[in-house]
Subunit: 221 residues, 4 copies
C-alpha cells in the first residue's frame, strides 16, 4: 500500500515533471523564435533567449545541446507544422487540382501571415548557418516534396494522365515550392508594399495549374 502510494505519488510527480519539462522546452523555443526572426540567428545570444524565456543559461543547455541544436529543433517544429497544415488541405480536397489551390491559400493565410517569424526562420535565418542545419532544411524540403508528389500521383491515378518525362513530377513539385517560397520572401519577409496577397495567391494558383497542365498529358481522347 505504502509502496503503491509512493509509486503513485512518484508517478504523479514524475508526470508533473515531464509536463513541466515539456513546457519549459516550449518556452525556450517560443522565446528563441521571435529573437532569431527579428534580430537574426547570429545576433541573438543564448543569454537573451534565456532572459526572454525566464530561465537560466544553464537550462537552455539542459534542454538543447547547443545553439545550433536549438535552431534545428525550432526549424523542425516549423517544418512539421507546415507539413501538417498543407497535408490537411490536400486531404480535404481529395485527389484533385483543388488540393493545390487550398494548400496554396493555406500557406499564406494559415502560415506566412499569422506566423511571419516562422516563415522568416524557415526561409531566411536557417539558410547557410551550418552543414547540420542545412541538412535539416533539406530534409524538411524533401518531406514537403514527398507530400506534394504524393498528392500529385494520387491525382494522376485519379485523372488518368501521364508525365511528359521522368523528371516532370519533380519539376512540378519543386516549381510549386519555389513559387511559394519566392512570393513569401518577397511579400512577407521583405514586406514589399502591403500588396493584395489574395490576388497574388489566385494568380499563383492559376500559374501553377497552367504549369502542371503543361507537364501532365491526358492519356487519351
Amino acid at each position: 500500500m505504502l509502496n503503491s502510494e509512493s509509486k503513485q505519488a512518484l508517478s504523479k510527480s514524475a508526470l508533473r515533471r515531464k509536463r513541466e519539462r515539456e513546457q519549459r522546452y516550449q518556452t525556450i523555443l517560443n522565446a528563441a523564435e521571435p529573437l532569431f526572426a527579428r534580430k537574426g540567428y547570429h545576433q541573438t545570444s543564448i543569454e537573451s533567449i534565456a532572459d526572454t524565456a525566464e530561465v537560466s543559461v544553464g537550462m537552455v543547455y539542459f534542454y538543447f545541446k547547443n545553439k545550433e541544436d536549438l535552431l534545428i529543433h525550432l526549424l523542425d517544429e516549423i517544418g512539421f507544422r507546415l507539413r501538417s497544415l498543407l497535408g490537411a488541405e490536400f486531404e480535404k480536397a481529395g485527389a484533385s487540382l483543388k488540393g493545390f489551390e487550398l494548400a496554396g491559400k493555406a500557406f499564406f493565410e494559415k502560415f506566412c501571415v499569422p506566423y511571419p517569424d516562422k516563415a522568416v526562420i524557415l526561409y531566411r535565418e536557417s539558410v547557410g548557418q551550418s552543414d547540420l542545419v542545412e541538412t535539416h532544411r533539406k530534409l524538411i524540403f524533401d518531406k514537403l516534396k514527398e507530400d506534394v508528389i504524393g498528392a500529385l500521383f494520387r491525382m494522376k491515378e485519379n485523372m488518368g494522365f501521364r508525365f511528359q518525362s521522368e523528371v516532370s513530377a519533380d519539376v512540378i513539385v519543386i516549381s510549386i515550392l519555389g513559387i511559394y517560397e519566392r512570393i513569401a520572401y518577397q511579400y512577407i519577409i521583405w514586406q514589399e508594399r502591403s500588396i493584395d496577397l489574395k490576388k497574388i495567391g489566385q494568380d499563383a494558383v492559376a500559374f501553377l495549374v497552367g504549369g502542371i497542365n503543361s507537364l501532365c498529358i491526358m492519356e487519351n481522347g
Copy 2:
C-alpha cells in the same frame, strides 16, 4: 620631348598602378568567393581571405570597409554578372517565349554549373546576414524582376495578349525566379544526385510556359 616622355612615363606608371589596384581588388574578391561558398561566410576569417589572396590583412581593409562590405561587393558583382547573362539571352531571342527558354538554359549552363560558388553566395551565404546585405540582395532580385518583366511586356506588345489581373505580370516573374532558384538550390547547391539538368531545365521551361499561358489571355479569336 623629354618632358613629354616623362609625362608619358608618369601616365604609364599611374596606369599600371591603377591596373594593379584593380587586380588586387579582384584578387581579394576571388579569394573570398570560394571561401565564403565552401566554409560559409561566418566561418571564413578575414585572415584566411588575406592568406588566400596573398595579401596582408590590412590590405583587405584598404580595399573594403569591412567584412560585410566585402560580401556586398561580391554579391553585387555576382548579381551584375547574372543580369548581364540573362539580358543577353533575352536580347538574342527578341520578344518571344524563346527568350525565357534561352535565359533558363543559360542560368544553368552559364551560371550555376560553371560557377557554383557564385550561386551558393547568391542563394545561400548572402541570406540573412545583415540588413545591409539583405538590402543588396533585394536590389538584385528587383533588378532581375525588372529585366524579366521588361521581356514579358515586350512579348505582350508583340503578341497582343492581356494579363488576367493587374498582379499577373509580377506573379509570372516572381514564379519564374522562384522556380529557377529552387531548382538551383536543390540540384546545384544541395547537389542532389547528378541529375540530368538538361531535362530538368526543359521541363521547367515547359512548366513556366504553361504558367505564362494561364495568366496571359490572347486578345481575340
Copy 3:
C-alpha cells in the same frame, strides 16, 4: 528546522557569492591601478590586467563594460576616497583656517605619499582620455570644490568676513586645488628629488592662507 536551516544556508551562500563578487571586482580594480599608473592607460592591455588579477579576460568584461568603464570606476573610487579623507580633516578642525591646514597635510600624507598610483591616475592617466572620463574627472573636481567651498562658507559665517567679489570664493577654492595638484604633480608624480614635503606643505598652507586673507575682508574694525 531543516527548512529554516537550508534557508539560512542559502542566504549564507548567497552572501558569500556577493562577497566574492565584490572581492573579484576589487581585485580587478586593484590590478588595474598600478598598471595604469606605471605603464600608462593606453599601454596597459586588458589581458595584462586580467593576468595580474588572475582572472580571465572575459571576467574583466563581466564586471566592467569596457576598458574606459574600468578607468572610470577606478577614478571615481579614487575621487571618493580623496573627498572622504579631506572631508574628515575639515570636520576635525571645525570652521577655522585650521581645516585647510589639516586637509593639505592629509592630502600629502594620507593620499599622495601612501598611494602615489592613485595620485597618478587622478592627475595624469585620466587626463584627456575620452569625453566620458573627462566628465567624471570634472565631476570629481566639482565635488571637491563644493566640499572646500562649504568649509570656506562655514568659516565665513563663523569669523564674520565677506568676500572681495562674487567670484572670490570660487577663485580661492580653485587656487587651493590648483596649488595642491601642481605640488603633487611636481614632487610626487615627477618625483623631483626627494624633497622635504613637510616644509613644502607648510609653506603652501602659509601661501594659501595669505591668499585667503587677501580675498576675505573682515567685516569690521
Copy 4:
C-alpha cells in the same frame, strides 16, 4: 663667373627649398594642433593630419620622426610661445609685483582665450602620453618655473625681503603656476559657463599676491 652664377642659383634655390621646408613643417604642425586639441591625440590619425595639411603621409614622417615626435614639437612650440609671452610681461613691469599681474592677465588674454587649442594641448592632450612627452612637459614647466623664479628673485633684490624658508620661492612659483593652470582648465578647457574671466583674473592676482606676501618677509622694521 659661371661658377659663381651657378652657386648663386643654387643658393637661391637652396634658400627657397629651406623656406618651403620650414613652411611645410609649420603647415603640418598647424594641421595637427586643432586635431589633437579637438579629437584628442590618440583619436587623431597621421593620415588625417596629412590630409588636413594637404601633404602625403610620407611627408609627415619626413619632417617628424613619429607621431610622438610631432606632439613633442607642437608642445615645445607652445611652451616656447607661452614663455616668450610671459617673459615679455615680466620685462615690462620691471622687478615688481606688477609683473605677476601683467603675466597673469596675459596668460588668459594672450594665450588661453585666443589659442584655446594650445592650452588644451599643453594642459590636457600632452598629459600622460609617454615618458618622452612627459619629460618635455616637465622641461616646459621647469623653464616657466625658472622664469617666474627669476622675476621673483629680482623683486626680492629690489624690495629687500627674505623668504620664510628655503623652499618658499619654489612653493610660490609652483602655486602660481598651479593656480593659473587650474583656472584655465576649469574655465577654458571645461568651458564652465561663460564666466567673467577678467574678474577671475583680478581675484587670482589678489590671491597670489596675498600668498607671496605670506612667504616673503620684509627684512627690517
